[in-house]
């Protein structure tokens, strides 16, 4: 669940949810990217628990500890989707690498829906 690094004083663990939140907050600021699409399980769990769960962003690490991130996205109507997706990939990659020092190998954007934003 966590990405771990060692310093001279001890270890630093960064939870996957932190990376997901960073990505979520970055996406909100990108024009054309409306929000993270929620899957059915998250929607049901949110209904039952009545709490906002962490965004449905999948994060995995490969052998070299590089992150592979999958983002389900809702895009605003009228925007050029390849441009929005490329912006999401660039911005999310830079914010995660700058904030956590975790190397990002891939950011796969999955456009699920189009809504009027």
């Amino acid at each position: 669940m966590n990405q771990q690094s060692k310093t001279e004083f001890g270890t630093i663990k960064i939870h996957k949810d932190v990376i997901a939140s960073l990505a979520d907050n970055t996406i909100k600021e990108i024009p054309g990217a409306l929000r993270i699409a929620k899957n059915l399980t998250t929607r049901i769990l949110e209904l039952i628990t009545k709490q906002k769960l962490s965004p449905s962003i999948k994060i995995e690490f490969d052998k070299n500890n590089e992150a592979i991130i999958e983002i389900p996205l809702v895009v605003s109507y009228g925007y050029n989707i390849p441009e929005v997706a490329a912006n999401v990939q660039e911005n999310v990659k830079s914010i995660i690498e700058n904030s956590t020092n975790i190397l990002v190998k891939e950011i796969n954007v999955n456009v699920k829906q189009i809504e009027r934003g």
Partner: protein, 206 residues
């Protein structure tokens, strides 16, 4: 072997066992007394009930997992994908259908539009549209304009270079009678809104 293959195998075995049991029951292979005592045992014994409950929960969870895996697999197949230097971008066909619905909102002549997007291997994209029109329009002109708009919007917004074939099926054109019926429905609902009683209104009149 993939996870869904295991689950598929498990449910195949379960269904075969269930089928065999049903056939055996109908052919009177088991004695009724044996069945009743077995049922009685499972109904009253706490350990048996717990193990049965656990089995039931496990089966429900497996079924949900199976459904999720199958739906995710189907969804993965129904996507348009391209690769950027930072990773892959996939667009679900549902998103393309969403876009077409949004485009249709700019045409006041359209009462209802149902899109169905299909990807043809190596041949591009097929967009099938079922249309209900609000008013009598010049159908060849209107549909040609709609086809062109949908095609250009998809190419512009998704950056798709493949050939896009837009097929339109005009299912219905609303008649004047149907239109007035609809208007009446709208106005009657408006009247109902008007008739809402305001609480304590009578106090003011007094």
């Amino acid at each position: 072997m993939r996870t869904y293959n295991y689950i598929f195998l498990f449910y195949t075995i379960v269904f075969i066992c269930l089928g065999v049991l049903l056939i055996a029951f109908c052919l009177h292979v088991f004695e009724l007394n044996t069945l009743v005592s077995l049922l009685n045992e499972y109904y009253t014994n706490l350990h048996s009930r717990i193990s049965l409950t656990a089995t039931g929960i496990a089966m429900v969870l497996l079924a949900l997992l199976f459904a999720q895996i199958v739906s995710a697999k189907q969804e993965r197949e129904k996507t348009i994908a391209f690769t950027n230097p930072s990773g892959q971008v996939t667009i679900t066909l549902l998103a393309v259908e969403d876009l077409i619905r949004r485009i249709s909102q700019d045409f006041p002549q359209i009462k209802e539009l149902r899109p169905n997007v299909i990807i043809r291997k190596k041949k591009g994209i097929d967009v099938n549209i079922r249309l209900i029109l609000k008013s009598e329009v010049n159908i060849p002109e209107f549909t040609a304009h709609l086809q062109e708009t949908i095609k250009s919007k998809i190419q512009e917004i998704f950056g798709i270079e493949e050939a896009i074939m837009v097929k339109i099926y005009v299912a219905k054109i609303l008649s004047q009678h149907e239109k007035t019926k609809e208007k009446n429905k709208d106005s009657s609902s408006y009247d109902k809104d008007k008739e809402i009683n305001i609480p304590y209104q009578t106090f003011r009149n007094l």
